[in-house]
């Protein structure tokens, strides 16, 4: 098919660029950490909360939120759960492979400016830690700009925990309050046992004035929101990270639509008060 000059010069939102798979590490039976590097002549700039469409040629694309902080230059990190065709193929990629990337996508990002000077609470369920980690590390790298920082994490069982050394480092720092729990544990586990909401009363920072960011499985949102409601956290201060089947990433294909909103352009991070008109959100 011959392409005219005018079309050849168009910016194609569907055209992936190539980055290099620099590192990979299986973090638990289902979660793969990958680090992708790009040529500095074509930098990859993103804001915490944005996602990319990862291509595996012949298989397809999957939307994955960036897990590293933009304060880390020259590369970005993803954590991919092996759950569908594309994510299984991502697990099979080898170091040095070229990977197609589109994005970053999403105008609904973590509010890095609005959060300045405020106390911040992250509530994460399982793999929900992955996108939140981008903003947590962003705050840690710009620590003086933000108030008290609390991260609470609930994981189903010990075997599904990941980022062990990073979480360990967080729990030993003075400038971040990190608490975690597992739903079920055996005798080897000395920490908290129970769902993530059991940690909410243990948060020392004043919840009512804090910005609270939630990311986890759909069922978690209901219970966490209920708890935050009881704690009288204004809905304007609560942010949810929503995931849908984002095929195009550009607000066209319709798959990620939640009532009026498109997760790919209006999200993936939403202010809870904005979602009052979107009953399909949770």
């Amino acid at each position: 098919m011959a392409i005219c000059q005018r079309c050849a010069a168009e910016k194609d939102i569907y055209l992936p660029r190539l980055v290099t798979l620099e590192k990979k590490r299986l973090m638990n039976p289902t979660e793969m950490y990958i680090r992708l590097s790009f040529d500095e002549s074509e930098p990859f700039d993103f804001i915490p909360g944005q996602f990319v469409e990862v291509s595996v040629a012949g298989i397809g694309e999957a939307p994955i939120t960036v897990s590293s902080s933009p304060t880390q230059k020259g590369y970005f990190e993803l954590v991919v759960r092996r759950i569908g065709n594309v994510t299984n193929a991502i697990h099979r990629l080898r170091i040095g492979d070229k990977v197609g990337i589109r994005g970053p996508f999403g105008q609904g990002t973590y509010p890095t400016e609005e959060a300045k000077g405020r106390n911040i609470v992250f509530i994460c369920g399982g793999i929900g830690l992955v996108p939140q980690r981008s903003f947590v590390n962003y705050i840690l790298d710009n620590r003086a700009d933000y108030g008290e920082l609390t991260v609470i994490l609930g994981t189903k069982c010990m075997a599904q925990r990941f980022f062990h050394s990073e979480l360990d480092a967080w729990s030993h720092r003075n400038d971040i309050k990190f608490m975690e729990t597992v739903d079920e544990a055996n005798d080897c586990w000395l920490g908290n046992v129970g769902v993530v909401t059991t940690l909410i009363p243990k948060i020392e920072a004043e919840l009512r004035s804090a910005l609270v960011f939630i990311c986890g499985p759909p069922i978690m949102y209901k219970f966490v929101l209920l708890a935050l409601n009881e704690a009288k956290v204004p809905h304007e201060n609560i942010f949810l990270n929503l995931e849908r089947k984002m095929k195009c990433g550009a607000g066209k294909c319709g798959h990620c639509q939640i009532n009026n909103f498109y997760v790919c352009i209006d999200g993936p991070v939403f202010r809870f008060s904005d979602l009052s008109i979107a009953p399909e959100a949770i």
């Binding site: 939102i13 040629a57 012949g58 070229k98 849908r244 294909c253 639509q257 352009i265």
Partner: protein, 345 residues
């Protein structure tokens, strides 16, 4: 811009000459109904058609198209369809739908694949001569159209009035040998066609102003009509497939026999289809039929209008009514039910 009068025999010569120089797509008979197709001769062109089986959007957003090709390990390259063509016979409601798609594919991120085709098209719209059995364009304010086309044809009896609205349209009409300047009487005749259509393309009467719909739907989310109608829905997606304003799509990879080369394609998808919102792992966000049924009518009457400045995304072509086997798709029936139960505020 000029308004010409083309006697019908002159029009036939004009189209036949056109076919020799450029790809021409026109409305033709298909059995007892009509559809767009590659035009081989002016005698096949049926501008007296009532409605086409498929809307003309497929010439800008084909059912399946290649977006990029790839070679494993060697990257991706964009593919475009850059062929120029003339599209003849677009009814006003379909023209309004194309205008909306233009806006939607331009908004937020410009879709260069859509515009490669769109910019290469010269659209010759034409006013309706014979209303179809389910048209309700008059209710939706789309029985006539004032922009978007390059040329607008109006059948005024022994001639067509042809108004050029763009430079592309002027250039096209310049090829019409024997065309006369339209006079005042001709323009009056055209106005009569418009007046007739603005009232007469209305086999289903919407019981509120079309601009009331977003607010009406704002109060109707939990109305029983969604469950009632969806009870007999087959999830077939026919209403999506024939709709001139539906544009949802899926993106899929198609790998070649060599397992090295391949193409990434987009294909029409439909929000009524089961699995439309399914994610890896099996969770489906709009699993209930009623939720999907409601989503379609909210998109037409609320979500898309709120995205594109108030224009309702149902243009009243009536194709979904024709296509729906359990006969639940008629948007007017649903909207009128809501008007009756909830009133217009």
């Amino acid at each position: 811009m000029s308004i010409k009068k083309l006697k019908k025999d002159i029009f036939v010569h004009f189209i036949d000459n056109l076919i020799r120089t450029v790809k021409v797509i026109g409305v033709q008979a298909k059995g007892e109904r009509f559809d767009y197709g590659l035009l081989a001769s002016a005698k096949d062109l049926r501008l007296d058609y009532d409605v086409t089986l498929q809307p003309p959007k497929k010439y800008f957003l084909p059912p399946v198209e290649t977006l990029v090709t790839y070679e494993v390990g060697d990257g991706y390259s964009s593919q475009y369809d850059c062929e120029q063509f003339v599209l003849i016979g677009v009814h006003p409601y379909d023209m309004v739908a194309i205008n909306q798609l233009d806006e939607l594919f331009r908004q937020d991120n410009v879709d260069s694949h859509y515009f490669a085709r769109r910019d290469n098209a010269t659209i010759v719209a034409c006013d309706v001569v014979n209303p179809s059995k389910n048209v309700f364009a008059s209710s939706m304010g789309t029985a006539t159209v004032k922009n978007g086309y390059d040329v607008l044809l109006t059948d005024i009896g022994d001639s067509y009035l042809a108004e050029a609205a763009t430079e592309k349209g002027e250039n096209l009409l310049a090829k019409a040998a024997g065309a006369e300047e339209a006079n005042k009487e001709d323009l009056n005749k055209r106005q009569q066609v418009w007046d007739k259509n603005e009232a007469g393309l209305n086999k289903h009467q919407l019981q509120c102003k079309v601009t009331d719909l977003p607010r009406l739907l704002g109060r109707a989310y939990n109305h029983p009509v969604w469950e009632e109608k969806a009870k007999t829905c087959f999830n077939c997606g026919s209403c999506n497939m024939v709709c001139p304003t539906c544009y949802c799509f899926d993106i899929q990879d198609d790998v070649g026999w060599d397992f090295i080369t391949g193409k990434r394609q987009r294909a029409w998808d439909g929000c009524l289809l089961d699995g439309f919102t399914k994610v890896a792992g099996g969770h489906e966000f709009r699993k209930k039929r009623a939720d999907r049924f409601r989503h379609r009518l909210y998109r037409k009457g609320k979500y898309v209008p709120e995205k594109i400045g108030g224009q309702i995304a149902c243009v009243g072509c009536g194709r979904c009514i024709d296509a729906c086997l359990p006969d639940i798709a008629n948007p007017v029936n649903v909207y009128n039910r809501l008007v009756a139960d909830l009133g217009v505020k």
